[in-house]
Each structure stands twice: as C-alpha cells, then as structure tokens.
C-alpha cells in the first residue's frame, strides 16, 4: 500500500515535470521567433539613421549570446535569464538606433510580456535591472554632455519624470511577473486536482475490485461445497452397491459433478487472472511441481496413473507470479493426464525446465492422444474443446495463455495424433525485467 502511494506520488511529480518540460519546449520555440524578429527589426531600424554596424554587431552578438547560453546551459534554466537580459539590451539598441525615439521604450513592455510564456516570475528581474541601469546610465551620460548617446529626444528630463518612468516600468514588469506566477500555480493546481480525482477513482475501483473478488471466491466456495458433498456421497453409494446399472449411473453422476467442479474452478482462475496484479514471488520449480503432482494424484479415473518425469536444470534465482505459474503448469499437466492414450502401456507426462538467467524454458510433453493439426490453432480459444470425449471446460488452455500473457511469456505447441503433444513455454524472469 505504501509502495503504491509512493508510486503515485512519483507518477504525479513525473507528470508535473512532463508538463513543465512541455511548456519549456513551446516557450523556447516562441523565444526563437521573437529573438529573430527583434534582430530583423534592428536591421529595419538601421535604414533610418544608417546604424547597420550596431544592428548587425550588437544584434548579432545578442543572438550568439542567447544561443550559446542555451547550448552550454541546456540542462539548467539559466539561458532563460540570458534571454531576459538579451531582450533588455535589444531595447537599448532600438532606442539608440532611433536616436532616442520615445516609442522604442515600449519594446521593454513587449519583452516583459513575451517572458510570461515561461510561467516564471523571476525572469522579469534581469530585464528590469537592465532597463534601470541603462536608463540611469544613459540619461546621466546624455545630460552630462557626452555626445552620441541618443538616449532621449527630450532636451531635459527631470528626476521626477525619470522616477515615474522607472516606477511604471517596474509596475508593468511586476504585473507580468504576477501573471507568470499565477499561470504556473494554476497549472499545478489543475494537475493536482486531476490526480486527486484519479486517486479517488482508483480507490473506488480497488474497492469494487476487492468486492467482486470476494464475491467470486465466496460464490465459488458456496457452489463447490455442496458439489463436493455430493461427490462424497456418490463415493459412498458406489461402495455400497454391487448393482451394475447403479454403478454406471453413479459413475456418470460423478463425472458430471467433477466436470461442474472443474468448470467452477476454471471460472475462478479466469477471474483471478483478469483482476489480480502480477506478483513477484521467489519461485522453486521443484516445490511447485511437487504440489501439482500431489494435487493431480486423485484426478480423473484413478484406474491408471500417469508417470511424472521431471527434470529441472539451472539454478538461477527465479522470480515470477507463483499463483499464475501454478495455474499454467497445472492446466498443461492435467491436460496431459486427461488426454492420455489408453492404447499405450505406460502413459507419461514429462516436464523439463531450463532455468536461464533472464528467462525460463519449460517443455511439457506427453504420449497422449495428440491434437489434430487443424485444431491446433484453436486450442487457446475460449470454450474450445478439441475432443468431444473431453470432460474439460474448454477454459484451461485459454486461461493458461492469458496468464502467460500477463507474465510476458509465450507458448507454442507441437502435436501429432496418436503420438503425443508437447508444449513449449518461455517465461521471462521478472526480477531481471524490473531492474
């Protein structure tokens, strides 16, 4: 549960990071357009007072400054601050190029608005600093008589005008900064909300899942309990009669009851495979096969027992879903027993397991009746039964394949009627996948 929580938090922060990186990419593209437009605008302004040197020299330097910062500082956001400064210097360049035309000051507002796209209020700071420093320095220099400054066309600028100028600029930048901040906050809140909703939905789903699971188990238990009582009674009745007909009826009754029982178990397996998460258990094939052998001892007609031949090679640690693995092997091995060839003297089922580091190969072969070639592609279909003698539910191989899918494994079959069947299974080691 705690693990899950952590996963979800991680998921959420990953989602926010992804969202922010999307904003960054989009904003970077916009910034490219704007910075080239600024450069082109500089070239256009050069036509008025013949300031080509400035337009190409300063403008070019600014382009180089921005793009090299972006290349060198690709991993950090610092290049965005460089962009902010570059935009400020462009403003200074335009003011100079137009010999202090007042309207050129507006480019600072344009730059401030452009920077909102990054949704970072701090990006306004370099721009503001450059504007203040530039204004103070150039205004001071022009009015103290230095020639060729072209800061303003006004003959005189009072301190009061200067202060108004700067305060207004600061106010506009602050408002742009505020919008940037609010955009970001809003996006984060939105993502948060989506995740909270998802979490609630997840919880409801889990609850519904749990209830359904519980229901399926209870229902299957309640169906099987009386069925097994019936089977017990049939056994006793068989023991107490010598009547051939009665014995025959009881035998048929038993077969049908067993079929019903298998069917209920298969439905349970199907439902369990569909809805439970894949677990990561340490697997001992030896134990697994032992348990299965024990369980299948009493299967079907106990007149003939099928030889179990097992070979396990390799000793790498194996991690997989124990319950699903048990289900897969159980289905395949019980099929081998169920479809044994009564013509043959010594029926067997051979289970060979090769444990490699990253996957396990399992071959389950028998000398049973075999599967006709035309039926082979259909054996994994739901409710398909290759033999009409069969007592199965037609779900076994379907479930085995579905379970195998969940484990990321594969299954293949080769078979010849009258000779036998072999299933080849390949299952990846989950621990390796996880790393």
């Amino acid at each position: 549960m705690q693990m899950k929580q952590k996963d979800e938090n991680l998921d959420q922060s990953a989602h926010i990071a992804e969202f922010l990186s999307a904003i960054k990419t989009k904003s970077d593209r916009l910034a490219n357009y704007f910075i080239f437009t600024f450069f082109a605008f500089g070239l256009f302004l050069a036509t008025f007072y013949d300031t080509w040197q400035i337009a190409v020299g300063v403008g070019g330097l600014l382009l180089v400054a921005y793009f090299s910062a972006k290349m060198v500082l690709a991993d950090s956001d610092l290049y965005q601050y460089v962009l902010s400064a570059v935009l400020g210097i462009f403003m200074a360049q335009f003011i100079y190029q137009m010999h202090g035309l007042f309207e050129m000051h507006f480019t600072a507002f344009l730059s401030s608005a452009i920077l909102i796209t990054y949704q970072k209020w701090k990006l306004q700071i370099p721009l503001l600093i450059i504007v203040i420093v530039h204004h103070a320095l150039f205004a001071y220099m022009q009015y103290s008589g230095v020639g060729g400054i072209y800061f303003t066309q006004l003959d005189h600028m009072s301190l009061q005008t200067f202060i108004f100028h700067i305060v207004l600029v600061a106010a506009i930048f602050s408002v742009c900064g505020l919008w940037a901040y609010q955009f970001k906050k809003y996006s984060e809140m939105h993502i948060d909300l989506i995740f909270k909703k998802k979490e609630i939905e997840n919880m409801e789903l889990k609850r519904a899942n749990y209830e359904l699971d519980h229901f399926v188990y209870s229902a299957s238990h309640d169906l099987r309990a009386p069925l097994n009582s019936m089977l017990g009674l049939i056994e006793i009745a068989k023991d107490e009669t010598e009547e051939d007909h009665t014995l025959e009826y009881l035998e048929a009754l038993k077969g049908n009851a067993e079929r019903l029982d298998t069917f209920i178990c298969d439905i349970l397996d199907y439902s369990r495979n569909l809805r439970t998460d894949v677990s990561n258990d340490s697997i001992s094939y030896k134990e697994l096969l032992n348990d299965i052998e024990q369980n299948l001892k009493f299967m079907g007609d106990n007149s003939r027992s099928v030889d179990f031949i097992t070979a396990i090679r390799g000793d790498s640690p194996v991690f997989s879903d124990k319950s699903r693995l048990n289900n897969i092997l159980n289905n395949l091995i019980s099929n081998a027993i169920r479809y044994q060839d009564t013509e043959k003297k010594n029926p067997f089922v051979k289970i060979e397991i090769d444990i490699l580091e990253d996957e396990t190969h399992i071959v389950i072969s028998d000398n049973g009746i075999g599967i006709p070639e035309e039926s082979q592609p259909k054996i994994y279909d739901m409710f398909y039964r290759a033999s009409n003698k069969a007592v199965g539910s037609g779900l076994g191989l379907y479930i085995a394949k579905e379970a195998l899918n969940k484990l990321g494994g594969q299954i293949k079959v080769t078979s010849k009627v009258g000779e036998g069947t072999a299933f080849y299974i390949q299952i990846p080691n989950r621990q390796i996948i996880k790393i």
């Binding site: 099987r224 309990a225 009582s229 056994e235 006793i236 023991d239 106990n302």
Partner: protein, 142 residues
C-alpha cells in the same frame, strides 16, 4: 474389504464440520477404510474445543487426527486454531490437525500452510485415496 478391516490404523478421529452431510461422509469413509476405531463428530468449533479440553487429563483418549473445516458459522477453523494454540502441550503433541476444505482461495491455503499447527491442507471430499495417503504418511504407533 477383508484386508482393510484387519488393520485399523488409529484409535480416534475428531471431525469438525458444520455440514451434516460432510460429517456423515467423513464418518462413513473412515469406517469403510477402517481408518480409525472411533469417529467423534463435532458440529461446531466450540464443541470441539470443549471436547478436547475435557480430555486434558486423559491424553490417551485424545484423537489422533482432527479433520478441521475452515468455513463454519460462528467460530471458524482459524479461530479454532487460535484457541487450540493456547492448549497445553499434552493435547497438541497428540493431535495431528488436517484442514479439510473446499476453499481455493490462495489466502486460505497460505494461511493454513503457514500455521504450524496445521499439518496438511486437504481438499474435500474425503476419499479412500486421501485416507490411504494420510495413513501412509503418518504410520500408527501401535
């Protein structure tokens, strides 16, 4: 039949099951296979606990096996085990507990197998083969 009746394996088996049919089947099968001389039937976990507690002073009269059903109304098989765990060693040393149930729930199987008091988990219905397997695995002392 002849051969079976000659060797009665155990003295006593206690069957704890709320379902009368299952109790009947267990008793009948045990008799048929001559698995035990005496079969005590209890229809609830409480009744079984009382029966065992009453025999504390005469350990020879304790059952060799307890066939325990998991799902029973009132006190279930697990609650029985909790109570049983507090019993004196004399009782616990004598009785072998086998869980006899129809449950396929992996939690049930896990829970039963991880309980040190439960020796084995057996699927219902009880049959000749299963009783034979038990008697092979747990040879009678006398």
């Amino acid at each position: 039949m002849e051969a079976a009746s000659q060797k009665t394996f155990y003295k006593k088996v206690l069957v704890v099951d709320d379902n009368p049919t299952d109790r009947f089947i267990a008793k009948k099968m045990i008799e048929k296979c001559s698995f035990a001389q005496e079969t005590i039937l209890c229809e609830s976990a409480q009744q079984a606990l009382e029966y065992l507690r009453a025999l504390e002073d005469e350990p020879d009269a304790l059952p060799n096996f307890i066939f325990l059903d998991i799902s029973m109304p009132g006190m279930d098989g697990y609650e029985f085990l909790e109570q049983y765990a507090t019993f004196p060693e004399v009782i616990k040393a004598k009785c072998i507990i086998l869980m006899l149930t129809t449950s396929l729930h992996p939690d049930d199987i896990e829970r039963a197998q991880s309980n040190p008091l439960v020796i084995r988990f057996i699927n219902k219905p009880i049959s000749r083969d299963k009783l034979e397997m038990i008697s092979n695995d747990f040879p009678a002392e006398n």
